[in-house]
Every structure is written in structure tokens, then in C-alpha cells.
Amino acid sequence: MKAFRWLVTIVALAFAASAFAQTRPNGFSVILLLGETQGSGSSDALPPAPGVRKALNDVKDFLPYKSYRVVDSQWMRSGSTRMKGPDDQEYEVEVTDVDQMIPSPMRPKPGVLRVAFKLQDAGAAQNSSEEFGRSIQAAELEKQLQHDRALLPNAQGPMAEEQKTRIERLQKQLRLVRAKKLIDSQFEMEIGETVVVGTSKIGGGDKGLVVLLTSVAAGK
């Protein structure tokens, strides 16, 4: 009887300690790079953290890009933020420490986090039905764009200027409509580890977005 009470007390204390440890938020360093197969840009703008440089050096042989350019970097707690991409494109970045969101006694290992990482164009569709609606809208806009481009060589003077403005506006609209989720991934990472998360066109393409994600222990 006494032993049972002791056992219950110990288990309750263990759960409480686990919950307390999980409430201490961890931080993340997010560095957004543009990888290009052309050009000879260097990665000198990288933060001096040796772990980050080592991670990029490690993956260079795996990725097809010759140059890497830092486009934005941020420190953040679990949550979401906006980051600037190339050509003033904006991205929404969300990093979640899953075990902090849903405390669970079944954590992977001490010092290991389960991280959900999302990167999407700003204003991306949130569900499949919205994506479907937008794909129809994009098809309409593309038709209009082709039509206006076809008319451009014949336009002269103020008409040509007006046509160009219209094309630019359509291109912007098309970009917004095509905004989509780029990365949606969940993985485990050790505290202090840098994981390289990236996206590109199937087959490689000539450009890719590369994110160097480093987890930092709470209180550091």
C-alpha cells in the first residue's frame, strides 16, 4: 500500500518535471539562402557560427548550386515570422517545437526536439479547395496575360505604356494567386544542430531556396 503511494508520487513528480522542462521555449536561428547554378556569389554574409558554415560546406556537394547568397536571417522562438526573399518576394516561415505545443511524456530523447517547419509564399492558399480555386483563377490570368502580350508589339505611344502597366499588374496578380506552400516538414533535431531544409523545382532548376535552421537551447 505504502509502496504504491510512493510509486504514484514519483510518477506524478516525473510528469511535473517533464512538463516544466517542456515549458522552457527553445530558440531557432533561421537563415534563408538563395542557391544558384549560375554566378559566383559567395556565402561570406553567413553568420560566423561554425556550425552554420560547417552545415553549408557539408551539403554543397549534394546540391547543384555554385553560389549561395544570404537573403534574410532571423532569430525566433516557436512561432511564425515573415522573411524577405529574392526580388522582394515575401515568405511566411513557421517553426514549431511540437513537444512544447503538446507536452508529452514520450519525447524522443533528452536534448532532442521535434520540429515542424513550414515555409510558404506570403498569402498562400491554406487548403486544397482554395488551391483549386486559385489554379482556375491563375489559368484565367495567364490567358489575359498572353492576350495583352500579343497586343503589345502593335501598341504605340501612350497605348504601349498603358499595355505595359497592365501586363505588370497582371504579373503581380498572377504571382499572388500562385502563392503556395513550399516546405511543410516535421523532423527531429538535437539542440545546437543545424538542419538544411530547402526547396527547388523537380529536376533541380537553376535556383533553390535553402534554409539553415539551427536550434538553440532555452536560456542561451
Partner: protein
Amino acid sequence: MKDLKQRLVDGDPIAHEPAMSDADVQAMRRAIVVEARRQPARSPMSSWPRPLALAAALAACLVLGISIGVRISDNAPVIVPSRASRPASDVRRQLQMTSPGGTRIIWTFHQEFDL
């Protein structure tokens, strides 16, 4: 004429047996009392922890279910390579690999990716 009920009563062998002697009755009673005393007393443990054990089992199932649910979430691409369900216009594939230096790479390919 005897009816069926009367015939059954008349034919019951126990009704014609002599009653048990007082000594036999006492012997039977003693045997029952002795056997009853030999049984272990019911401990308080056996009475109150039943609801607690049930609650603990339910809590354990709940924790297990949530943990499995979190791990096998739809958003978690755990199969490598995986193919997310997207509209036909945006096919996605995800690869996870580890470099010789130990750095992990998680790469998502899009059919339509434009920078």
C-alpha cells in the same frame, strides 16, 4: 384418480429419506466455518485502487493515442521519399538525406517552382 402432481410427489425419493442427524448438521457447519476462515481477508488495496487503475489505464491510452497521432500527423512527411497530395498542378516530393559530415538535408521538390 391421481393427477400428475400427486404422482411426482409420491415418487420423490428425498421426501421419504430420513432427516440428517444433528451431528451431521454440526459437522457440515464446522467445515463451512473453517473454510471461510481460511480465505484471506480482503485488503483495502483490492477495493479502492480499481477506479484508480482504470483511470491510469485510460490516461495511458490517451497519452499513447496523442503521441501516435502527433507522430503520424498528416503534415509529417515521415516516408522518404514522400508524395504529398496536392492538386495536379503542384506535385511535391520530399527527400531526406544525410551528408557524410552528418548534416541532414530535407529537400522538397515542386513541379511548379518559380523564383
